[in-house]
């Protein structure tokens, strides 16, 4: 599903933070090209 994809990661302090999502995406085979931890909007 994420194999070979480029992932933009928008984590949140009160939810799942950016580095945690990035670790999951890398393990799923994606390349993380952008990762932050905050509220997006």
């Amino acid at each position: 599903m994420f194999e070979g994809k480029k992932a933009i990661v928008l984590g949140e302090r009160d939810g799942v933070p950016g580095p945690a999502i990035a670790a999951c995406m890398k393990a799923a085979g994606a390349e993380v090209i952008f990762a932050v931890t905050e509220c997006f909007v």
Binding site: G18, A20, I21, I33, V41
Partner: protein
């Protein structure tokens, strides 16, 4: 707003075809607004993505579908703690709706 600009730049540089966005917000309403912004444009018409329809597939890390794609040990360690706090089925439904709506448009 800064992130909107950064994401717009990344899409310009990489093209949207091979990109996915993964959110981690615990607040479902906020996550939906972010997903909408990255799919059809900024609903508040305030940021760099106002009127810009990127059409990116947006996922939430707590969706059951996403969980299945991640090795179980990594997922448990990184995101497992939030599964207790939110309704993952509901998140899965909402984000699937957003992605399917995006495909139709």
């Amino acid at each position: 707003m800064e992130n909107q600009a950064a994401i717009k730049r990344l899409v310009d540089e990489n093209g949207a075809d091979n990109l996915v966005v993964v959110l981690g917000a615990a607040d479902l309403e906020g996550a939906e607004i972010a997903a909408e912004t990255l799919t059809v444009g900024d609903p508040g018409f305030a940021g760099p993505l106002a009127g810009v329809s990127l059409g990116l597939p947006v996922y939430h890390i707590l969706e059951p579908e996403v969980k299945k794609a991640v090795p179980a040990d990594v997922y448990e360690q990184q995101a497992g703690f939030m599964e207790m706090v939110v309704d993952t089925e509901e998140i899965g439904r909402k984000f699937k709706e957003i992605r399917e709506g995006n495909e139709k448009s």
